[in-house]
Every structure is written in structure tokens, then in C-alpha cells.
Symmetry: D2
Subunit: 416 residues, 4 copies
């Protein structure tokens, strides 16, 4: 029995960049914060920066229940019990709900053990369960709402291991921006890095997802985003009714919520333009039809149709209209977002809290995400919710996109 | 022909507190901004503050089309053509869309003229059309999405008049807060006024709608809102999945997103509590069932069930779960919000941008609205969108609700 | 006696764009808010937009004291008693303080009456007193701290008239931005207008004052501001120790508070660079000496020396060092700011709350001011304090200056 | 020679809570970021949470110069060369400036070695130099401006060691608030902890310093702060001219910048009250005189005089007046702040960016600081500048102070 009287013990091992990445301190912290104690039985520090370290830690707790709580908590940081066992499974007994005690996923790479084999979990997404197909010996993340009776669901933390996403060398440049949401950072550097990421993604045949809010239109940035789309830098666009409706209002009337975007004048009764634009789309039947009939001849949505950008307009309770293309059911919209974001390699979020957090919840930890917003609270909210891979840039949409297009087009000219 | 060569003219008259309320300057501005000019033919100023003023203004424009644009713009401010005519009607030719040229509503009291009679428009709401039942000689606002083929829709601005909501004497105290969104205002005064409004609404049998975000739970304010509900100060609650899920997590586990609300400590793996709380509700079938079965025994949602508060949980794409009670289709949720907010007399919005703007879009101009948020941008956005009756208080949720409950309960004790 | 029993009366007249500019409503409001009432005896509305209107209003109050309070309040809006009298003077009896009851100035054009003649007040500045030289029959604003015993100071509101600065046609484009501090405005338009203002000021031989904060350096914008200085677009620079110290650190070490501005990397121990840069200047004796000795060879301060930009570095309690050039006494710094800003025609404030408000307090109402800050609260604070002529642009410094330089240089190329 | 070709090496040792407190990862990071490499020669992990760990690390660099840079950088984190030597001293050759290469201090406990003895540095403050009195064998921090020719100044990092302030157990409760500046935290907990700190400080005879901005008055919180002062919870107050002037305006006229704080109404011409209040103080000669003569009979400044609170009013360039008590020279004000804050044990900063950062720069790392502001950027700025011990609470002043007083007075009643 150890000094603290914590007589329930289990050995766990942790390996990787556990010092470098602050993982070990977090694990030790978690143990003591939860009322446990620990003994570091073995510790090997990687001598160079690239070398992995290894720690063997005895976790001590005052009760079996507490011990399991601690093991569960630290397993999210990659601490795996030495005496490993297979994962436990329970059959779903209710449609759309997990069995009690289900294993709740993170957005980190995860494996489960079946018959002594470690199997990679597919469709990694946070806040899901893991269902297992015992025949094919495959496992994947599944949202609560999609559970069907009889599916085999992982229960508890035994037989589950997580590989926390360490600092990647190639992200080094990005890191600096992430240290805080301070606005006092050199912005030109950040813009150049985003441009380089867009350019590399296109060169390497990756997939860039832009998640955008209506400020792209209000701020007068339609032309900049249009140029990125025409240049092949955007494969997928997620937005709401507002971005599309403002964009179409701008294309049809030259205004956005009644403000003329060329000179900034307010057009009296111009706020009606917004509604008339939506009404016209509803009369025609949709954005694609409006483009095909020559009614819609410019703008972000026009470019999406013309350049085969895969888009989703997700509905919300504050929508006017909405446009016929909008998916008004939140669950259906989430499902489509999930499908369309599976193979995304770079995600640029611009001026939308709602859609950014929705997408941030779906992406695995290894997808690079840059979130641009003039309001620091959006960026803070994203990190608070576990989207740790998100680089936040607190800046203004129009000048940001204006400069971004210049940088991207310069790279393109340079590489031609 | 007038000096500016604007040979298309029409006389309009404006009456009411047109100086006091800045309406006349706005109208004259709108005329010249749109390229027209004006001649003030008659002007009678109310001598005292309560006396109405009257102006007869000739509007001049360079073309008939421009003239109509101007008349349309100024009609929203209450300028009605002297040579009045009936409103024009057109039958809807497409499901879910208005005829082109439909009259787009404001949130101000509106009347339309049919056979020389002025008829009040029911269900006043901004950004709708007006449909007329010629048999019953009634008219009401209808959202675009609800239009059915064959309905008679008001087209153009002729035969429509609007009564802008002037400064009401009884709102005088409120006004000061509205002058800007500055945080540098005496907060005790604002809190007392909100308390008085809640108290008066209950005394007079009015209906208070609370629109709330999850920060009510995060910030540790569940108890304060619960006391207001038990005291009979809340008749309706609009929220999202997040508020209810955090509230239930707090009731079941004592945490909110894994943070213990009694001491602020972070419970490792506590973020799972969030998902487990939702899963449990899905297993039981709903919040009411959880209360009836004794699973849920405290919190905001518990009090709603126990005190017959009419609630709506509207879904969004960032929801986890969601709870079985959540209405996931945005159009269906809007429809329910519309119904439940028809007879609301006071609306208190707390820490939610999405739901606040959604509700602000639905309420007529004469409903008092107070919007509380620590982020000034939420309040700015509400006013930018025409919810002029909104009083914004930039403050922090927990201390605000803590002080509000003290004030309300003191009034209650004082009146007993 | 009038209905409200307000038997103390005085007639005032108001003329100008009193409807257009909302002056009349404000005056009527002020009267009733202060417990008075009014009778509009005569009212002539200018028929066109450019024509002045005229109102003769009887102000009614319950006591002589209240009447004078009201007359004092509305005189700031340009309401002048009909039965005009000379201004009253009292000799200053204490160094550095006004006699009780002194007339407190606004930043609007002001005249005082002496021997039936109206005399223009020089050095217009808000929150000062007016001192009169009876021999030369001249008057000027004087700050409290500069009062000397025996000076003749205007007391009360009699014999003082104010000419509120109406909407100027040539500012029309600017107005739109001013309607609120919303970030949802087309930014390209705003940037073009600021560029045009800088360009016109240079063309017309005006004087542009830039008031800048250290974020100009942090954000990586030294080169942009340097180009504006070299182009002759900046005549005067007001800043604090921080801007200059960061700029010099950047010139000497390539960092700003230890962050490398070319790649964003944090240089360990680089925060020392800040202090070493200041120390080196102190050793050399000043910025000019450092330029002359070839130690300082680039940056904002270097360009100021090389291009004869008149600069002031005003100290504050958070300064490190400070640099030898810094004026550490706040009163002395105010005095210098006053002198250097007397003939400024355009003022561009960038990312500094403290210096922006300090300068805003000194400028008369007719100087165009543009205030750029990513934090809306800075802009709100400026307007709250009566700097009504300020156009606020909520945006990010680096992309703003980057785009501004492009626009200005394009205008220059176009005009060559 | 090691693999990276880094042939310049030196051994350093680090001990203490180096894992727990993230110090080791930071040091290893600093080495590689600066182009060096490392070999961990020995590593002993403390087995329990309270046990210190120890590491012996060989630092490798490509040049002697780079090696010294690295040693300098990591010495701030407590890494001390094994082959220790005495510190190097150089005589100051210029008034008000250090010799080039001076050791620049942190706000952590520091010792220097003289004749093989480690001597504690007094007056610990960041961004200073260390001067040594060889006769008394004492050392202390000295700001650049106070350097006198001939003083012995520590140069380089040899013979200097720093003891980074680890996580203190007794601060555990505070930690949670510090993890980010998110507004989504339970506020009641934070308020209770601040109350407990105020209470304990008074019980233990400590010294609480309040640094306050004018929002304390605007927001209607004068009474709350007055009660804390009367209760003996405030020993020292740092503020600017604005807080005192608003407070005195409120005491004399009931307004703050012309806003009545009891009902929120705006008093027309009430902005003059501000100036008249200051003028009256200037006529009387000072705040103490005004209290003694019965002119000033309530408010924060009144309570300071009556309860012997030691106050400093530091001037700034945006001050009106200023009050006679204001210290207008920034250097003199810093000097006084330094003296008055030497023995402070708890510091509560309320709604002032300028004064908070100024004070944060002066305090050693072991003084507890709580910074309350509704604007997250103030809190972010404080941490960005190295005031790591600062706990930021993003909340609204009035409800915060209202709740704080209730908590403190409840503790007082409970202990009586």
C-alpha cells in the first residue's frame, strides 16, 4: 500500500513526444486532480528532439471505481494500461442511443483491441461512440443519433488506445499564431502561411474546405473569394442561407442588406432587396437553375456552380426565406457535412461562429484548420471546445482576403 | 417643373411625433438620397411635447420609376400619399414564393386599404408579405415559405400605411440604455428596470419570454433562472439543445462541459458527462419523462416542466445528440416560435446571438425586448437588423442574474 | 403662464439645417428632459435640402435657475436667446483654475459678444474656458491649467453662441461608416476614402497628423507607414514610447517584443531586445543622434527624421526606459500636442486608445478624423466622449495599411 | 562532437517541479528553437506530486555566441550552468543607461553569485538591470532611468540564477480561471475566491492594492468600493485623474460625465459637471482640503482620506484638469508606484488597461494579481506581457463589485 493509502493500482505506459508535447504533465495532473497518486517506475527521455520518450507509471487510487475513472481520463491522453485486454462490447438496445457506459470518442487517432489485435477506428470524430463489425473486424465512429438496435458498441476504456496528435514539425510555422488569440501578431506572416497552405493543397491534389459567413459579402470580399474559387483553391464550401442570399442580392442588385458595396451608400428600402433576391430564387427553383437561365451571372454561388465546387447551405432558425437549396433539418445537414468533410485536408473558416464550431466538431485532429474572425471570442470558443488543431487569426475579412488573393496569385505566377 | 428638373411628383402627408422622433428628417433624407427633391407645402408643429405635428410634402423625382421607389422607401417611415388608393393585389402563382413586386413588411403597425377602408394587418412581422382574405376583409403577415398558390398578396406600396413606433413615454427610463452599446453605463439602474418589467408583467398577467444560451449554465446561473421560473416570472422559454443539455448535465453530474460549477475545478474526462446526459435523455425518451421518472430533479428544464413553462428547444448544426425534445428542422422551429411569441409582452434575451436574432426577427416593434450579452457585437447585430425596440445591456450573465433575482424578490416581498 | 406652470420664459432662435441635422429634436428634448416646456412660436422649413430652416421657440421653466440651466444646455446646440446681451466676464482669482460658473467650451465654432459685436473664439477646443483680451477684443480657448490670475474669463452662457457643425456634403461618403461601429461594412470603400483623403490633403498642402500605437510595429506594418511618410503623406506623428521603442527594436534586431516580424517565430530571450534597443538610444542620446551616427537606418522613426516629420513621443506610466525623446510630463505633452495640432486638416488614428482620445479631446469639430482599431470599444469610447466628427473603422492594422498604401500609390501613379 | 555538428557545449542543471510546471519542455524547446541541440545526461523524476525532479542537460550549439544566447534564454526558466562562475560586473559609464550586454531581469526570484556566494536580488522587477554593492555584498533591481555613473551592473548571464515560480498548491483554486480568458466560466466561484483573498489578506495583516479605472464610477459601483475601503480591505489605491474626477463629480453633482447614476438619465450640459468638479478641487487646493472643509463628503476618494488609504493618482495625456493631487510626470509616478507596491500581497485590478499593465510591470511574480475587465483584450494584454501570475476575470464591474461586497461582508459576519 502506498503512502496515500491508495491501494487500487494499475500500471500504464506512455510513449512518444511525451515531454515535448506536455502530455506527461497533463497525465500526472489528471491523476492527482482526480484524487489518485502515482509512482514513476521507469522513465527514458529521448535524447534528441525527434527521439520518443517512454514512461511506466503506476496509477494509485482509493477505490476501484476511482481507478477506472482515472484510467478513463488519462487514456484520452494516450496512457494505455500495460496489462492490456480486449475492448468490451455491448449491443445497442434503443434506436438512436448508446448503451450506458459507452466509450466517448476524441478527435485523435484511436485503436481498439479485438482478439489481441489492435484495429484502427475509421471516421474519427469527437463525441461519438465506436461501433464494431465483428465479421469484418472493423470499427468506426458513429454519432448517437445514427445508432441502430443490435449494433455492437464499445463500452468502457479497456482495450482502447489513443494517439495524441503531437507537435508536427511541418506545422511549426503555424504554431506561433496559436499561442494565444492576441491581435498583436505580425499578420503578413499569417496571411502568407495560409496562402502557402492553399497553394500546396491545390498542388498536391488535396481538398480545401471553406466555411464562410455573410461578412464575406457585407465586407465587399465577393470578388476575392470568387478569384480563389476560379483559381481552383476551393473544393468545398459550407455556408448558411445568409451568405448565399447576400451574395445573390449583391449579384442581382449590387447591395448587401441594402448597402451598396461599391460606394457604401445605404439604399433606402434596399433591405427589401434581400428578400426579393430570395423570393426570385424560390420562383426559379434554385441557384443552379438561376445560373443556367442566366439570371445569376456573378458572385460566390455562381462561381461554385460554374467551377463544380461542392457546396452545402445549412439552415438555421434566423434564416429569411430560405433559398430553395438550403438544408433546413440540422441532423440532415450534419450528415451531409460529415460526408463532404471526410477527405478534407485543409479547412479555412471565415467569419462564422455557428458553422465553424459545427465543422470543428466533425473534423479529426490531424486536419489543419485556420479560423479567421475579427471577434476574438469565436476563436476562443473553438479552442475551448477541443478543436486544438485550429489556428486562430483575429483579423478583418476584407483586407485579409484581399491580401490572401494577392499572395496566392503571386505564388501561382511564380510557379508557372 | 421644379428647379431640379424632377417633374414626377406626388404629395404625401406625415403626422405624429415627426420631429420628436426624428421621422421627418429621415424621410427628407430618404428622398434626396434616392435622387429626388421635396417641397414642404405645409407644416404644423405640435406646440407641446405631446402634441402631434403635421407635414404635407411634395415628393419630386426625375422618373415615375424613381418616384415609386421613393414612395416605397418613405412609406416605411409613415409617409402616406394624399391621393390615396386601394392596395393592389396579385394572386400567388407559385407555392412558397410571392409574386414579384410583393410588399415587404416592417415590424411596425401596418394598415392596408381595401374598398376605401383601412384594415389592420394581423400577425405583424418584418420581412413577410401581406395576404388578404377578401371575403372576411382581413389581412395578415405571411412568411414566404408559407405562401400557397392562389392567395391574394399585396403588391407595391399603394394603399399601405405604416405607423412608426414613436418614443413611448413609459419607455423613457429604458431609452437611456439604448443610446449606444457602451459598457460605461450605470448597471444597477438597468438591472432594476428589468426587474420592474418582469414584476409588472407578472402583476398585469402579461407574458414574459426568456431566450437563453448555454452561458446561463456555464456561468453558474441555473439557480437564479430557476428562482425566476418558480416565482412565476417566465411563461415561455426559447433555447437550443446546448442550454438544455448543459442544464441536465449539471443536474445529473454537477458539471457543465466537465467543469464543476460549485468550485470551478475541471473534472478530467468530465466532458463526457455532456454526452452521457444527452444519451440518458434519449434512452428515457425525453425531458418530461426524465422528470416524471425522478431522474431529473433540478435545474432550468426541470423547473419548466414543474411550472408549466412553455418551452421550445430549436436545433442547430452544432448540436450534440440532440436531446429528444429538440426540433431539428429550422422551418418547423420558426413556425413554433412564431406561434408561441404571438402574445408575448416582454422578452428577455440572455447570452445567445443565434436565438436572439431569430426571435428579434419575429417580434413586432411594440414588444419590449432586453438583450443581455457580455459581447457588444451581439447587441450591435440586433440593432443593425432593425430590432430597434431592443435595449442592449452589455454585462456578464451570472452577476446580472444574481442581482436581478435579488431585485425581483425584493419587489415581491415589498408588494406582499 | 403656460399650462405646465412654467412661468419663467425666454425666447431663443435656432437656424440652419436644424431638421436635417437633428438639432431641433435634440433641443426640444433637452428642454423637456430638464423639466421645462416649450412653445414653437414660428417655424420656417427650408424647402430644399440646402435651404436653412428657422425656429423661434419660447423656453419655459419653473424657476429662473432651471431656465438658465436649460438655456445653457441648449446653447451648446446653437440655440441663442433672442434678447441677446454681451457675455459676462470675471477675473481669474486663482492660478490654474477658473472662476466658479465659467463657460465650458465645446469643440464647435463659438462666438462671444462684446459691446454688441460677435467675436470669434480662437483655438477652439472642448472642455476649456474662454479668456478675453479686452484691448485687442480677441478671445480664445484656454485649458484650466494655464489660467493666470487676472485673466478675464467668460462666465455663464449669455453672450455666447455656438455653430454646430452640420452634415457637410463633402463628407457624405464618410457618413455611412459612422452610423455605427458595426464591423459589417464594405471595407474596400472605407480604405479608398481614407486614401483619397490622404492624397487630397497632400495635393492641397494640408497637414495630416498620424496618431499611432505599437501595433503598427507588432503587426508588421512598419514598411507601409514608412512608405506613406516617404511619399509625403504624413506631416506630424504623435505616438508613445512603445511605438518608437518597438520600431527601433525592429530596425536593430528584426524583432518586436522578441517576435521576429519576417517569419513570426519567437526569439527566446528576445524580449530583452526591447530593453536593449531603448538602452542603446539612451546611450547615444536620442533618435536623431542614432540616425546621424548611422546606428538607426530604417523604420518609422528613421523616416520621420529623414523626411522632417514633426513628431511627439508622449510618456505614460507603462513605459519601459523611456527613450530620451519621450516627453514624460503629461501636461507638457498636452501643451506640445495642442501646438502641433493647431493647423491639422486630417487626422488618422491607428490602434491606440490612449493617444487617440487625448488627441480627440484637443481637435476642433471641423477636423476630419478617422480612427482605425480592431477593437470596437476604442471607437465607441471616442464617440462617447464627444468626438462626433470621428469616423470609426473597425479593422485590422496590417491588412488595412497594406491596402491603404496600394490605393494611395495608385492615385499617385494615376495623377503623375 | 555531436551528430548535429554542435561542438560548443555546456552542462546545465534544472531542478524543482520541472515536469509538473512545464519548465523542462520549455527549456528543451528554447534550445532547439534557437538552433541548438541537447543531450539529457541524467533525469530523476520526483515520484509523488510534491517531490522535486532533477535533470542534467548538455546544451549543444554551433558557435560560442549561439551557446551563450541559448544559455541566456534558458536561464530565465531556471536552467543554471553546472560549472558555475561568479557574475560579471561592469561599471555604468553613462547616467540613465546600462552598459551594453547588461543582464535584463525577469519578475522571478533571482540570485547572483559573488565570490562563490549566492546573493538574493532585492526589489525584484522585470525589465530592470541588477546593480551590486560590493561593500555590503547586496544586489537589487534598478530601472534604467535610475542608473548613476559608476554603479556596478551585472553583465551577461553567468553567475545569475532564476527560480521560476511554480504552481503553488494554495493557488490551486485560482488556476482554473487562468486557463484562458473565456467568458464561459462559473463566475460565482471566481467572485468567492477574490472575496476570500481580500478577507485573508486583511486577517493576516497583508496589504491589498486596488488599481481602478473610471468605470467603477460610471457603472455605479462607488458605494461598493467605498464599503470595501471602510471595511479595511484596501490599503492602497492606484488610479488616474479620471477615476478621482468622476468620483468627485458624482459626490458633488450626482452625475458621472453628465449621466445621473441613480436613474441613468442624461443631464443636459451635465458633461460640464466633470470640469466644474475638477475646477473646484483646483480652487480648494486638493482632495484632502476638500474633505477637511466639508466640500467632499462621500465617495471613493473621500473614503481614502478618511480611512488612511494610501493613494496615487497618476497622470496621462488624456486628463482633463487635472486634479491638484495628480502626479503628471510618468517617471515620478512610476517611482511612487514602485515604492508603494513593494510590500503588496494582493492586487485587484479593475477596469483599467493602462494602470493595470503599468502595475503588472512592477510587481514580482509571487504577488497574486486578479484583473477584472469586461474586455477580454485587457486580460490578454496582461498575460502577453509576462504577468503570468495574473488571474483574469472577464466580467462586468458593477455586478462583480456588488456580489464581491456581499461575499466579503458575509465572511466578516461569519467570523465575528
Amino acid at each position: 500500500m502506498n503512502p496515500a493509502g491508495n491501494s487500487y493500482v494499475e500500471d500504464v505506459e506512455i510513449s512518444g513526444h511525451i515531454i515535448d508535447s506536455l502530455i506527461l504533465p497533463k497525465i500526472l495532473d489528471a491523476i492527482t486532480a482526480a484524487g489518485g497518486s502515482f509512482l514513476i517506475k521507469k522513465f527514458t527521455v529521448g535524447q534528441g528532439r525527434q527521439d520518443p520518450s517512454y514512461a511506466l507509471v503506476e496509477v494509485q487510487a482509493p477505490s476501484q471505481e476511482r481507478l477506472e475513472e482515472i484510467l478513463s481520463a488519462i487514456s484520452d491522453h494516450g496512457a494505455a494500461p500495460v496489462a492490456d485486454s480486449d475492448c468490451r462490447l455491448a449491443a445497442a438496445d434503443i434506436e438512436g442511443a448508446f448503451p450506458e457506459g459507452f466509450y466517448s470518442t476524441t478527435n485523435q487517432r484511436t485503436e481498439i483491441r479485438i482478439d489481441d489485435d489492435w484495429i484502427k477506428v475509421a471516421d474519427q470524430e469527437m463525441d461519438c461512440g465506436v461501433i464494431v463489425d465483428l465479421e469484418t473486424r472493423t470499427a468506426r465512429c458513429l454519432p448517437m443519433v445514427d445508432v441502430r438496435v443490435g449494433q455492437q458498441v464499445v463500452v468502457g476504456h479497456a482495450g482502447v488506445r489513443v494517439f495524441p496528435h503531437g507537435r508536427r514539425e511541418d506545422r511549426h510555422g503555424f504554431e506561433f499564431m496559436n499561442s494565444s488569440v492576441s491581435t498583436e501578431k505580425p499578420k503578413g506572416v499569417a496571411i502568407r502561411q495560409v496562402a502557402a497552405e492553399l497553394f500546396r493543397t491545390r498542388q498536391e491534389g488535396g481538398k480545401t474546405l471553406v466555411v464562410g459567413g455573410p461578412a464575406i459579402v457585407h465586407s465587399g470580399s465577393v470578388d476575392y473569394l470568387s478569384r480563389l474559387i476560379r483559381g481552383g483553391y476551393v473544393q468545398t464550401l459550407f455556408a448558411g442561407n445568409a451568405l448565399a442570399a447576400h451574395d445573390i442580392e449583391h449579384a442581382l442588385f449590387g447591395t448587401s442588406l441594402g448597402v451598396r458595396l461599391d460606394c457604401g451608400d445605404i439604399v433606402e428600402a434596399g433591405h427589401e432587396h434581400h428578400l426579393r433576391a430570395i423570393n426570385r430564387m424560390r420562383r426559379i427553383g434554385g441557384i443552379r437553375q438561376a445560373v443556367e437561365q442566366g439570371v445569376l451571372r456573378s458572385g460566390v454561388m455562381y462561381e461554385c456552380i460554374k467551377n463544380d465546387v461542392d457546396y452545402l447551405l445549412a439552415g438555421s432558425i434566423r434564416d429569411d426565406g430560405p433559398l430553395p437549396d438550403v438544408v433546413t433539418d440540422a441532423l440532415r445537414a450534419q450528415q451531409i457535412m460529415r460526408e463532404k468533410s471526410r477527405d478534407v485536408t485543409f479547412c479555412l473558416m471565415i467569419a462564422t461562429t455557428l458553422h465553424s464550431i459545427a465543422v470543428g466538431n466533425l473534423l479529426p485532429a490531424w486536419v489543419k484548420v485556420v479560423c479567421v474572425d475579427i471577434n476574438p471570442s469565436t476563436v476562443i470558443k473553438l479552442s475551448d471546445r477541443g478543436s486544438f488543431q485550429t489556428v486562430g487569426i483575429v483579423t478583418d475579412v476584407e483586407p485579409f482576403l484581399r491580401a490572401l488573393v494577392v499572395e496566392v496569385e503571386a505564388m501561382q505566377a511564380g510557379s508557372a
